[in-house]
């Protein structure tokens, strides 16, 4: 480790543990976005008009506001009123999750709309209720189609998560900043931070590639054509 100064080597464990914070934020947000995004997409396609309106308004707000504004709004405004003792990490996870939910619901909505009407007709003609038809026929196909677009949310969240330094979440960039403040050498520190982000990105891509392969079915690819 001759190219790294002893001070930096010493700070590495502290920086590296930021990987877990960043990854934790991203995974929680992705999960929250998934759990919220699918029902929101279903409401938009199949739901009653008032609920559709609510979902559209939600999406409009959470896609329309800068992420930093959302973070400050929740960190300084909403959470102090609701739950003053909650850690910044959780607030950040919720904000990122709410935001990606808005994007994810549009990804799922597009995928659901891409399933031909005939699938629903066939399911209903067999005596399936609308609910069952959605669950057993529409969603399994729509989720497969949504996967490539959905995996986009991972690198987006990963890179967006660094903004959470603004409310003091001890993620990668925050820790990098702290180390620079303590020992200087910003070039080396930020290069290491950048490498860590790239590795996280690559790892995620690899996992999502595996998932896509695992659920691949004939007729959904374009083969050799």
């Amino acid at each position: 480790m001759s190219i790294l100064s002893p001070a930096i080597v010493e700070s590495l464990p502290y920086l590296l543990s930021g990987v877990f914070t960043t990854l934790g934020l991203v995974i929680l947000a992705l999960g929250l976005g998934l759990v919220m995004g699918i029902p929101m997409a279903l409401i938009q396609v199949y739901g009653p008009a008032p609920l559709q309106y609510c979902v559209r308004t939600y999406i409009w707000i959470f896609r329309g506001l800068p992420i930093l504004v959302l973070l400050f709004l929740f960190y300084f405004g909403i959470f102090p009123l609701l739950a003053p003792d909650i850690a910044a990490f959780w607030i950040a996870a919720v904000v990122l999750g709410f935001r990606t939910a808005a994007y994810q619901s549009e990804i799922f909505r597009g995928a659901i709309l891409s399933i031909s009407e005939g699938q629903m007709l066939a399911a209903r003609s067999l005596g399936m209720s609308r609910f069952y038809a959605i669950r057993t026929v529409i969603l399994p196909q729509a989720l497969r189609r949504a996967l490539p677009g959905w995996t986009n949310e991972y690198p987006i969240l990963l890179t967006d998560s660094s903004v959470c330094y603004a409310i003091g979440v001890a993620e990668l960039l925050t820790r990098g900043n702290q180390i620079v403040a303590r020992i200087g050498d910003p070039m080396t520190v930020y290069v290491i931070v950048a490498i860590l982000f790239i590795l996280l990105n690559y790892g995620g891509q690899w996992i999502f590639g595996r998932i896509e392969n695992r659920y691949k079915i004939p007729g959904y690819g374009h083969g050799d054509a």
């Binding site: 005939g118 066939a122 399911a123 005596g127 399936m128 079915i217 004939p218 007729g219």
Partner: protein, 253 residues
């Protein structure tokens, strides 16, 4: 000479004065007929005369504006959530198959048995294999719809409908998207079904099939049944000549 099966079964389906408008266009202008058990009725007529809409009204995939449908003296129209119960007894085969693309052939047949009929997985599998055998697709049980030819896909969708043990099956132009060779393959299965006593309502342009299999042929035009009769009766009618001209060719069977 082709033998026509007897049609003295009891009336199981009654269609009474069905009207349906799409916007300003009245697609069905009061259609009525009865269907006896074991009977094959074939609907023929120019495109856009409401034949497919009529079939969809029977299982309520399209809700008619007025009129009523009765299955075994139970009203299918205005059934509310009970419609799912009636649809199990009214099978449907679609022009473009509408197979579930994410499921294998056997999965397509099983799914409603398990999810709708509440059969155990083992029983559903057994029943599904039986039906796949009926339509000659046992060797394709694990193939996905995308891996099937059009003829195989349509035979699979017939097996899917058959598995529910329906009282009647509605065929909505089942061969219109198939070439002549594949059409023959599907019509063979349908003929066998008809002769085995399945009650069938078929919308088709296949005159040969209609003449050799139907107990009754119904001509539809502008949302109405303009003429009906047995194949031998209908062959002498002026409507028949007109329809033949419309269809362009007369396919001898």
């Amino acid at each position: 000479m082709v033998m026509h099966k007897m049609t003295d079964g009891e009336i199981i389906l009654r269609v009474e004065d069905i009207h349906k408008c799409y916007g300003e266009t009245e697609v069905l202008k009061g259609v009525s007929f009865d269907v006896r058990r074991g009977e094959t009725k074939v609907f023929i007529g120019p495109s856009g005369t409401g034949k497919s809409t009529l079939l969809r009204c029977i299982n309520q995939l399209t809700i008619p504006d007025s009129g009523s449908i009765w299955l075994n003296d139970e009203e299918v129209t205005h059934a509310g959530p009970l419609i799912n119960h009636f649809r199990q007894k009214i099978g449907m085969v679609f022009q473009n198959f509408n197979l579930f693309d994410h499921l294998t052939a056997i999965g397509n047949v099983e799914i409603a048995l398990i999810r709708v009929k509440g059969m155990s997985k083992a029983d559903a599998r057994k029943k599904a294999l039986e039906e796949l055998g009926q339509v000659g697709l046992l060797d394709k049980a694990n193939a996905y719809p995308a891996e099937l030819s059009g003829g195989q896909a349509q035979r699979l969708s017939i097996a899917r409908a058959l598995a529910m043990d329906p009282e009647v099956i509605l065929f909505d132009e089942p061969t219109s998207s198939l070439d002549p060779e594949l059409t023959r393959e599907v019509l063979e299965v349908m003929k066998r079904l008809a002769r085995a006593g399945m009650t069938m309502l078929v919308v088709t342009h296949e005159m040969g099939f209609a003449l050799s299999v139907a107990n009754e042929i119904l001509f539809m035009e502008h949302g109405k049944i303009v003429e009906k009769g047995s194949p031998s009766e209908i062959q002498t009618s002026p409507t028949f000549a007109r329809t033949r001209m419309f269809l362009g060719t007369f396919q001898d069977d």
